[in-house]
Symmetry: C2
Subunit: 193 residues, 2 copies
DNA sequence: TCGATTAGTGGACACCGTCCACATTGCTAT
DNA sequence: ATAGCAATGTGGACGGTGTCCACTAATCGA
C-alpha cells in the first residue's frame, strides 16, 4: 500500500513534476480514501519525500545502466574516460526524457531527507566518485587533481541539465542544445588534463 | 496596483520560494479582494511569471553591483579576471542569502516567459558574456576558447548554487561549503588557461 | 477467546484558484 | 453638461486540496 502510493505519486511526478504529486490523487489511483494515506505518511511532504527518493533512484539506475554498457577493463584509460562520459550523458538524457522525474528527484522538501530504502544501492554522487577514482587508478589524472573534483563536475552537469530543461535555456533548438552539450564535455575534459 | 501585487508576491517568494507566492495572499497584502488581481493577470501563473522576472532582476542587480566594485581598466587582465570572479560570487551569494528569491527567479511557469520589463537592463547571461568578452580583449583567453564558454561556466556556477541551496548538498557546513566553492573557482579558472 | 494494535472510512474545516454577475469610477464624444 | 463606455474593484459561489477528528473493521498474540 505504501509502495502503491509512492508508485502512484511517481507517475504523477513523471508527467507534472513535484507539484503534481497530490495526495488525494495518489490515494484515488490506489483506490482508497484520502485519509488512508495518513496511516503511512505523516503528511503530504513525507509522501513527496518518498517519491523524490524513488525518482533519484531511477536516475541512479539509468546511470548504472549506461556505465555498464562501457566495455573495457578498470585500468584502461580510454574506458575510464568513457565511463565518466556515460555518467554525464545518462544524467542529461534522464533530465530531458523525464523532466518531471528529474525535477522531482531534487525537490525533496525542506526538513526532509531522502528516505534511505536500501543504503546499499548507489547514489549518483557515489557513481561519479567511483568513476573519478577509476580515472586515477587508470592513470588519467593525478590524485591531487582528483581531490574533490566530483563537486565541480557534478555542478557543471547538473547546472546544464536544469538550465536546459526547466531553466532559461529550455527553449533551445535540438541543434543548439547538442552544440552546447558537446561544448560542455570539452570543457569538462579540459579540466582533466 | 499591478506593481503592488508583484512586490507582495516578491516578498512571499523571498521567504517561501515560488510555491509561496499565492494569489490571495498577495491581494491581501495590497488590501484588495482576490478577484481584483484578475484585472491585471490572466491567472496565478502570470502573476508568478512577473514575480520571477522581478527576482531575476534582483539577481542581475546584485551581480552588476559586485562587478562595479572591481576597479581596473577594461584591458587590465587581472581586473578582467576579478570581474568574472565577482559575477560568480555574486551569483552564489544571492543564492545563499536569498534562497527563496533564487529559486523563484528560475521557476517561471511552463508556457510563460520572463515578462520583459525594460529590455535595456542586463540579464545575468548578458553580464557573464560581457565579462568573457572582456577577458578576450584583455588578452587572457583566445577568441577560440571564449566561443560559447558562457554556457559551461554558467552551468557550473548555477549547478553549484542549486545543489548547495536546495539540492542534496544543502546541509553542508560553512567550512565544507567554502572549500567546495574555492575548489570550483580553481576548476573554472583552470578552463581559462 | 479476547483485547489491543493496525488499516481504512466518513465527515468536516480552512484555504486556494477561478468563474460569474454586479457596482463604481473616470474619461470622452456628443 | 451629460450620456455612454471602458476599466477597475466587489460579492458570492464552486470544485479541489491538505489535514484533523471520531469511528469501524480486521488481524494477531496472550
Amino acid at each position: 500500500m505504501r509502495a502503491g502510493l509512492v508508485a502512484a505519486g511517481l507517475e504523477l511526478a513523471r508527467t507534472g513534476g513535484p507539484d503534481a504529486v497530490v495526495l488525494r490523487e495518489a490515494t484515488r489511483a490506489v483506490g482508497v480514501v484520502p485519509n488512508a494515506a495518513y496511516r503511512h505518511f505523516a503528511d503530504r511532504d513525507e509522501l513527496l519525500a518518498a517519491v523524490c527518493t524513488a525518482a533519484m533512484h531511477e536516475l541512479a539506475d539509468r546511470m548504472s545502466a549506461e556505465i555498464a554498457k562501457v566495455r573495457g577493463k578498470q585500468d584502461n584509460p580510454a574506458a575510464a574516460q568513457r565511463r565518466l562520459g556515460a555518467i554525464g550523458t545518462a544524467y542529461l538524457r534522464f533530465a530531458h526524457e523525464e523532466p518531471g522525474l528529474f525535477a522531482t528527484a531534487f525537490a525533496v522538501p525542506e526538513q526532509h531527507t531522502y528516505a534511505s530504502t536500501e543504503d546499499a544501492d548507489p547514489t549518483p554522487l557515489g557513481l561519479l566518485r567511483t568513476a573519478l577514482d577509476n580515472l586515477v587508478t587508470a592513470g588519467v589524472i593525478t590524485p591531487t587533481r582528483r581531490k574533490d573534483l566530483e563537486f565541480p563536475i557534478w555542478s557543471t552537469v547538473h547546472g546544464l541539465a536544469t538550465l536546459t530543461t526547466h531553466g532559461p535555456l529550455r527553449a533551445l533548438s535540438p541543434t543548439q542544445l547538442r552544440h552546447i552539450e558537446s561544448q560542455t564535455w570539452d570543457y569538462i575534459g579540459n579540466s582533466l588534463s
